[in-house]
């Protein structure tokens, strides 16, 4: 049977992994390629690199990270951050990425989802949604790394992204991101039910129990986490063992779990 996925996320700034709280205050957390190879070895099911480098003239650094990762990492990996055109997408896929994640550009130019899916297949187009709660049961889409409100409803946007050909939704709760208070389960569940695409829960994980909650109560297909893995609070292996004990189907790797 299809297993649930654990996806470490690496925020990359000018070629280094960093982690902030509520989208600010960056701390250095190592070399992305080294970390990626370690996570592959530990049994991560997939990886996501988010390039948070603000200026696009430093984009070549990220292409290099992708190229080097592709030589050492043999699980699927996604690149997001600052991809605006079909050419940007093509460049990352050619460098060895399996998927691209579109956020701001998808909201501003929804056609990019359609064109990307047409050119490279839906399976490699991930639409990332940064969501902030506006009222009970309502969330608004934010762009520009959480700085700009769009007025768009998260559930409507997720459904629109699916209709345009997105293959997956990466859903981040801005209210929870960096807080370690757990995923916003109501949001995750609402989006999971609004689309028939796989949903990756993101934002707020602080304990292994949060991972389990995201996959069960949140009805997510995959859970994303950054700091709990980067700062070695837990290993991927521990996380998988815990989830397996909770009766959640996870991938076993070479006698690991």
């Amino acid at each position: 049977m299809l297993s649930k996925r654990i996806i470490p996320c690496l925020d990359v700034h000018e070629g280094r992994v960093v982690k902030g709280t509520n989208f600010v205050q960056l701390r250095d957390a190592g070399d992305p390629v080294e970390l990626a190879a370690l996570y592959d070895k530990e049994g991560a099911d997939e990886l996501i690199f988010l390039d948070i480098t603000a200026s696009s003239d430093k984009r070549e650094t990220m292409v290099d990270v992708v190229r080097r990762t592709a030589e050492q990492v043999f699980i699927p990996f996604t690149i997001g951050g600052g991809l605006r055109t079909i050419d940007d997408i093509r460049r990352m896929l050619r460098a060895g990425a399996d998927k691209v994640s579109l956020n701001t550009s998808a909201v501003q130019t929804p056609r990019l989802i359609q064109e990307g899916a047409h050119a490279f297949g839906s399976q490699c187009i991930v639409v990332a949604i940064d969501a902030r709660s506006t009222a009970p049961g309502r969330w608004e889409v934010y762009i520009h790394g959480g700085r700009t409100a769009t007025g768009k409803d998260v559930l409507e946007w997720a459904a629109e992204a699916e209709a345009l050909g997105a293959g997956e939704i990466l859903l981040t709760s801005m209210d929870r991101d960096g807080t370690k208070a757990g995923y916003e389960l109501e949001l995750t569940r609402a989006v999971s039910r609004a689309v028939s695409l796989p949903v990756i829960a993101s934002g707020g994980v602080g304990t292994l129990d949060h991972l389990a909650e995201g996959l069960t109560l949140g009805e997510a297909d995959a859970v994303l986490a950054a700091s709990i893995f980067h700062y070695k609070e837990y290993s991927i292996e521990e996380a998988k063992r815990y989830l397996a004990q909770r009766g959640i189907l996870v991938r076993k790797t070479g006698g690991l779990v």
């Binding site: 299809l2 592959d40 030589e71 028939s196």
Partner: protein, 209 residues
């Protein structure tokens, strides 16, 4: 030497890097003339069935690949590259495939999320050298919306379960296919590619005598 067919429809780089990782020599082929010099062949592929067949046709690959398969040299199709080994694909209407294996490629029934994406476990249906050393219930990475229904049950080497039980590895003689992406299925995917590579090397050693 393992040739990887470049017909504009696959993640060639990943396949190439994975084979390099397990120490096999590869060459990415942009023309069927290069088939002469290779001992084993990999046909990758992502996208739609008809698109892939059209690209193989316009690249002049169909007859040379068919001949390669008949020559007895090891041949592995990956994902869509596996699906086109069959006679007919039902994606966007009926389309003829390479017909190297008997059967059809059909869509998953509605109900589950499509595509079937992520890590699923294998049930080994019969012993095969391609899966040597890979335990039953090992996980592999899948991304697909269609699956093969071989006419001959004996062509099914391993299956997976996604609401329906479908073939994950198929094979007959020297022609094999994996529905998953071995190049993205660390660690067992690399084991499968190693098995394929060894087979290619054995074939090369035999044919040089």
């Amino acid at each position: 030497m393992i040739g990887i067919v470049d017909y504009g429809r696959g993640n060639l780089r990943s396949v190439e890097k994975a084979l390099e990782k397990v120490d096999f020599e590869t060459t990415i082929m942009t023309s069927s003339a290069e088939l002469e010099g290779v001992d084993g062949l990999i046909l990758p592929g992502v996208g739609a069935f008809a698109d892939a067949m059209e690209a193989l046709k316009s690249g002049g690959w169909i007859e040379p690949i068919t001949q390669f398969a008949r020559s007895g040299r090891p041949f592995l199709g990956i994902c869509l590259g596996m699906q086109v080994l069959f006679e007919v694909g039902e994606e966007h209407g009926e389309h003829a495939g390479l017909g190297l294996l008997a059967g059809r490629v059909v869509k998953f029934p509605p109900g589950g999320k499509i595509p079937h994406m992520g890590w699923n476990s294998l049930n080994l249906e019969q012993p095969s050298r391609l899966l040597e050393g890979i335990p039953n219930e090992s996980y592999f990475y899948f991304v697909h919306s269609f699956y093969a229904v071989p006419s001959e049950k004996s062509d099914i080497v391993a299956t997976s379960d996604y609401g329906v039980v479908f073939p994950a590895v198929v094979g007959k003689g020297n022609v094999w296919g994996a529905q998953f992406h071995p190049e993205k299925s660390s660690p067992w995917g690399l084991t499968l590619l190693t098995n394929f590579g060894k087979w290619v090397n054995e074939y090369a050693a035999l044919s040089s005598h």
